[in-house]
């Protein structure tokens, strides 16, 4: 068997990863249809892709990429340095609709020195530049086909886009002219199944072979017990947090935030909302990363008495009322119910307001909220705490200094140390309630091999996938 039906929860709005933030786009096209200069592998490491190799200048400002030769786009046009220049310039242009323009903000210029060589000059050294070039938003597109990518994506990857039945499924087929090793699958279908119950049923009924990110943790015990399926627990970059509006009373009072931190029972939330799937975290950092500081989990141990005392100290012996806005995913809706129930023990009475993503973007994300729950799935994004305008409204000189230093540091050891410092600061300040790292529960037919266990970037890289029978 050389075809695969893969379940995905969200349908992408379109298929151009350079023109939208939706993770659903990358889940279909990243590494399968489109490739960048670099790629991120299963373990979050930067690997060469369209760039065979690269050199970084001493000052860390100039990157010289050596491009792979003999690469063709799916429409038959050749890939060369002009395409790279076009893609990067397009992404950082003023009228660009790239959702992650920040990735390119460091770029000062892109020069083509010969058809196989591109020189990128940065305005200041950026430690994460190579990683950034591995994002889906930085894939290389051809000027001939760029405008049509939303409906008919044309890339350089091992699969060609073949069909999209809106609302139902997206199909990609093997690209026989691929520059790298030929892939085992002749066809892959991404079937869109937004509903958790339907997802379970689809697997059980054999309609779907695999879910890289299975949306119904409650069904996992049942699937685990079923020899037909392999259930694989991996890690993600999703720090699930109780986002707190640090500029709004009473949450601007650190004692209130500490009281909340003492009250939250992470394990109960993981068990109740995620059926045990997830790793508790004490700060905004992925536990599988070497720089993660595990001891921060005990910064504010579960202690109701202490929490009540802190709250009384802050002037709320009877507690207070606030709102908790919850976006659609299960972790938020279910987790929110549990948190509301937990905070009720110390007298904080939360009104639960479910919101759609749209409203979430216009409300909480613009800073108009008390509390909300959301999973921050961007990798290595602790830098957001240095932005006082970010929706946490957290303004700490100490942290901002650490991040500023981090941004210009290239040495790995040094970087890890700074990362640790940043983790400690936000944990001590109880900026947000740190809950758990979202688990990635992959469920697939036991005969399938090669699917990612972890998801350092949101992608379903099918390059190495094959059936074992």
């Amino acid at each position: 068997k050389d075809t695969l039906v893969m379940g995905v929860v969200l349908e992408p709005p379109h298929l151009d990863p350079t023109a939208g933030a939706a993770a659903a786009i990358d889940e279909v096209v990243y590494a399968n249809v489109f490739e960048g200069l670099t790629r991120i592998n299963e373990n979050g490491e930067v690997m060469p892709a369209l760039a065979e190799s690269w050199e970084v200048s001493e000052d860390g400002k100039t990157y010289t990429f050596k491009l792979r030769s003999g690469v063709k786009f799916h429409d038959g046009t050749d890939f060369d340095a002009e395409d790279v220049k076009f893609s990067l310039d397009r992404a950082r242009a003023d009228d660009s609709t790239n959702a992650q323009k920040g990735l390119f903000s460091a770029i000062e210029s892109v020069e083509v020195s010969d058809p196989q060589t591109v020189v990128v000059t940065l305005s200041n050294p950026a430690g994460s530049f190579l990683f950034n070039m591995g994002w889906g938003d930085a894939v290389i597109v051809a000027p001939e086909s760029a405008d049509g990518n939303k409906e008919n994506p044309v890339g350089t990857g091992p699969f060609k886009f073949s069909n999209w039945a809106k609302g139902s499924a997206i199909e990609i087929t093997r690209n026989d002219g691929y520059w790298g090793d030929a892939v085992a699958l002749s066809k892959a279908t991404f079937r869109i199944i937004p509903d958790a119950a339907a997802a379970t049923n689809a697997l059980l009924a054999g309609d779907v072979d695999a879910f890289a990110n299975f949306p119904a943790p409650e069904a996992l015990p049942q699937l685990e017990a079923d020899p037909r399926f392999a259930v694989v627990q991996g890690s993600t970059e999703g720090e699930t947090i109780l986002s707190t509006n640090n500029s709004k009373a009473p949450f601007s009072d650190i004692r209130v935030r500490q009281a909340i931190a003492h009250t939250i029972d992470r394990q109960a939330i993981i068990d109740g909302a995620m059926f045990g799937q997830g790793t508790p975290i004490g700060t905004h950092f992925a536990p599988h990363h070497p720089a993660y500081k595990a001891e921060l989990i005990d910064t504010y141990p579960h202690d109701i008495e202490k929490a009540k005392a802190l709250l009384a100290e802050a002037g709320f012996p009877e507690g207070f009322k606030a709102t908790l806005q919850l976006p659609p995913p299960t972790y938020a809706r279910r987790g929110g119910e549990i948190i509301a129930s937990q905070l009720r023990e110390i007298g904080i009475d939360l009104e639960i307001i479910p919101v759609e993503w749209k409203q979430w973007l216009e409300g909480p994300f613009k800073g108009d909220y008390d509390l909300t729950i959301v999973s921050h799935t961007e990798p290595l994004d602790i830098g957001i705490y240095a932005n006082p305008d970010y929706y946490f409204k957290y303004d700490s000189k100490e942290l901002q200094d650490v991040i500023a230093k981090l941004n210009v540091t290239a040495d790995t050891e040094e970087r890890y140390k700074l990362m640790g410092e940043a983790q400690t600061i936000i944990s001590k300040d109880a900026v947000n309630g740190y809950l758990f790292q979202l688990a990635k529960s992959g469920v697939w037919n036991a005969k399938i091999e090669g699917l990612w266990k972890n998801s350092p970037v949101q992608a379903n890289d099918l390059t190495g996938v094959h059936w074992n029978d």
Binding site: E11, P13, H14, G20, A21, A22, D94, D95, S96, T97, N98, A99, Q100, K101, G102, K150, E151, A165, K166, G167, S168, R191, I192, I193, P194, D195, A197, A198, N201, A202, L204, A205, G206, D207, P328, E356, W357, K358, Q359, L361, E362, F365
Partner: protein, 316 residues
């Protein structure tokens, strides 16, 4: 065409016109900025502003209404905010799931309900009638989405006769497609069949009490001749009314059922579009659903005129 139908046609157009205004107005007062959603969390303000301009969201209300209507008349329903394809195309794809589903459900409910209703009416007051009527009471009370859950559990998970959901597309062949639509159609149809069979029964009982039935019997017709030649056609009128209403209800009922079975139909399209505030899609789909309701009512009137000669006559 009789004046009666002419007037109905006119009121159909008027209702549609009013409906466009209502749909447009309601969706205009929805707060928020679609451009922001399309671009996502980390999009810059510039990008959002650029997109707003591109989508024509900065134009005044009336201009947009008329350009929408103008587009409608040329068959252009606008472009989706979330899918970057035209609304017409989206609807065109999805209607091939929803329409067959609704028709299948309607056929199913009619095929079940009418004979059952007639049988019960004929056996009025006997044990079988009582049993059927009790069963229909249950049928009416069962929420179709709950019924759908049970159906999936039994037929898809335990017995594995049919897929639990999804739609392979008609190009995969008639049989797989019908198999995928079977459970949703049953879930939609059974509660409707319960209602319809009650209507059929009471309509027939009412007609059987009419004077002309007695006249027919006095002519020497047997009970069953009277039933077939005189009662049925007269009892058809309320049954057709309810069938008309049901078709509309079934189309709308797909909103929930299509979500249970993750069918890529209009119901799920409109539900997603509503939650994502994809206004052009909501407007287009809602208008289509409203139009189909209005049109069904008109068709029902045509059927009336066909059944009932009193309506065929032109005004004198």
């Amino acid at each position: 065409m009789s004046y009666f139908l002419f007037r109905r046609l006119l009121s159909l157009l008027l209702t549609l016109l009013l409906a466009t205004i209502v749909i447009f107005a309601v969706l205009e007062i929805v707060p928020g900025d679609p451009a922001r959603l399309m671009l996502g969390i980390n999009a810059t303000e510039d990008a959002v502003a650029a997109l707003r301009e591109q989508l024509g969201l900065n134009q005044p209300l009336l201009t947009r209404y008329f350009s929408w209507i103008g587009g409608l008349l040329q068959g252009d329903l606008g472009r989706s905010f979330t899918y970057s394809s035209s609304v017409g195309e989206l609807i065109g794809e999805r209607i091939w799931v929803s329409l067959p589903l609704a028709l299948l459900a309607l056929t199913l409910s009619t095929v079940i309900a009418v004979p059952v209703g007639l049988y019960a009416a004929a056996r009025r007051g006997r044990a079988s009638d009582t049993a059927i009527m009790a069963a229909t009471q249950f049928g009416i009370a069962i929420p179709n989405f709950w019924f759908a859950l049970l159906l999936v559990y039994l037929f898809a998970i335990v017995l594995r006769w049919v897929p639990a959901g999804g739609f392979p597309g008609w190009e995969a062949g008639i049989w797989p497609a019908l198999k995928a639509l079977a459970l949703p159609a049953i879930a939609l149809a059974l509660p409707q069949a319960a209602i319809l069979s009650r209507i059929a029964r009471s309509a027939l009982i009412e007609v059987l009490g009419e004077d002309f039935i007695r006249t027919a019997r006095a002519k020497g017709l047997t009970r069953s001749q009277t039933l077939w030649h005189h009662a049925l056609r007269n009892a058809l009128i309320p049954v057709v009314t309810i069938m008309g209403l049901q078709f509309a209800f079934l189309l709308a009922g797909t909103i929930i059922i299509e979500n249970v079975f993750y069918l890529p139909g209009l119901g799920r399209l409109v539900f997603q579009a509503i939650t994502q505030h994809d206004l052009p899609v909501v407007q287009g789909t809602v208008l289509l659903l409203v139009a189909s309701v209005v049109l069904t009512n008109f068709l029902v009137d045509l059927v009336y005129a066909w059944i009932d000669p009193r309506l065929r006559k032109t005004a004198q």
